[in-house]
Subunit: 287 residues, 2 copies
């Protein structure tokens, strides 16, 4: 699985570099490229492995994988802004607004979102109807009832009088990180014109497990490993899965979710080995 | 022409309201809706009138018109942010970050961009290939070598030692406002699978005339009419068409461009009457 993840990383970086090759030289393009460096590429992996389940080739799924990573990169740049989470470190490097300016960070994020949608029109992906279904699903997943809504809920929670309860945190995370993870994991089924149900179920469990482990890492991890500031949630007195379930409770919950995710993959048999391993990786990673 | 513009306004507002009807209630959705109120709707008019030239019906072009206006609304919300142009008044109302917060303004803009791309997948527009061509062209027009690049050039110009010369301002405006205007004016030809050349030529001239007149209004207009702060360019010692050509020189230039725009419409004969009138309107408006 980790070999395949490395392979995905290399391919996606090349695809993103290619997509940005023709942009005018300057701060904006520099910032866009910088924002796309590194990352775990889990979303790209989900796209390319779900596509493989249906016999699709990497060159068909790669533009979709690049699109989800460009979109994810934009979301991190905007989330890190002073008026949002106000983070100065990301993937072990200064955040875009620290390295350049707030204006450049806002614009680089904006242009990465446009780029992401453009990548989904790549003819390599397949029939026009398929590409349109991806554009439409992507718009839903990342917009005002998906990812951006989740971020708005997260910002609102910081100033709320009452900390969120478990249900509210799940809803927030399902929007903020779950929607794009679900888009990524079901992309293969969409491309193949097959039922997205089992992969959506896998993604729901995986996404929540991922987020719970992020909360665990915020408590137990260190900045050298994670490449971002840790201990922020506790300092902000923010309700997290750890504050609500305790450290062991959160770990238990994550393990249960990973088992559910693995069960959801049963219809795909042996071919889903990498997706199964990813689910376990998600709660074992230290970054 | 003004009757048709009113008709377009009504239809586009209804389409935007419809597109946002299912969004979760809250600040984010409120801010998105607020950002979409009012405006001259010139881009929507260009879409719907260019579509009419080729015999397309309003219900086919309306989702495209709504998409360009949603995109335009997002660009204004982000341009007005404190780290960008720092404006507190837009369309006669407090800007989104003044009314709510910077975070909400960034997120509302982000979600409006996602919404705009989603609108272009509407089946009403026509064949899948057409819709994909629109998504692809839109991504180019509004991204890192189009609108966002233009805004980055504009921000950079504010801190540059040397004021921009005429060539540099034209390049900046062609990206910042020209690219979306060109997308809008050629949309009908794209939808009809026809040559976009004449409409692109019309749009290049119209877009520049529009911008020159904006610079003229910044000097001669007042806030009650324009609904935004005026006199900002002079105060910022910013190079504009007026500072480079003088007030009369700028007006002459705009008139020449409008004549060129009208000439470009000749292949379309009588049917292009509204587009011709729009070109004249663009340099006669006081808002």
């Amino acid at each position: 699985m980790l070999d395949r993840l490395d392979e995905v990383k290399t391919q996606v970086q090349a695809a993103l570099d290619g997509a940005m090759a023709g942009l005018p030289e300057g701060e904006l393009t520099d910032a866009m490229r910088y924002a796309c460096i590194g990352g775990k590429r889990i979303r790209a992996f989900l796209v390319m492995e779900s596509a493989r389940l249906f016999g699709l080739r990497d060159r068909e799924s790669l533009p979709v994988a690049a699109a989800v990573e460009a979109l994810h990169a934009y979301s991190l740049v905007h989330d890190d802004l002073p008026s949002m989470d106000d983070d100065d470190l990301r993937r072990g490097l200064p955040t875009v607004h620290v390295r350049w300016s707030e204006a450049t960070a806002i614009l680089a994020g904006d242009a990465l979102q446009s780029l992401a949608f453009g990548l989904l029109t790549d003819a390599q992906i397949g029939a026009p109807e398929i590409r349109l279904a991806l554009v439409s699903g992507f718009s839903e997943a990342v917009g005002g009832r998906g990812m951006v809504w989740g971020q708005a809920l997260d910002i609102a929670a910081e100033t709320a009088v009452e900390p969120l309860d478990l249900m509210a945190i799940k809803r927030l995370q399902q929007a903020k990180t779950g929607a794009l993870i679900q888009f990524s994991a079901t992309a293969g089924a969409v491309m193949a014109g097959q039922d997205t149900g089992p992969l959506a179920e896998y993604a729901r469990n995986l996404g929540l497990a991922f987020q719970i482990h992020d909360d665990v890492l915020d408590v137990t991890g260190n900045e050298a490993d994670t490449g971002k500031r840790t201990g922020k949630d506790g300092a902000a007195n923010k309700a997290t899965f750890v504050s609500l379930l305790g450290l062991e409770g959160a770990r238990d919950k994550a393990r249960t979710l990973v088992r559910n995710a693995e069960t959801a993959l049963e219809p795909y048999g042996e071919g889903a080995g990498n997706l199964r391993q990813l689910a376990r990786f998600v709660i074992e990673r230290d970054a």
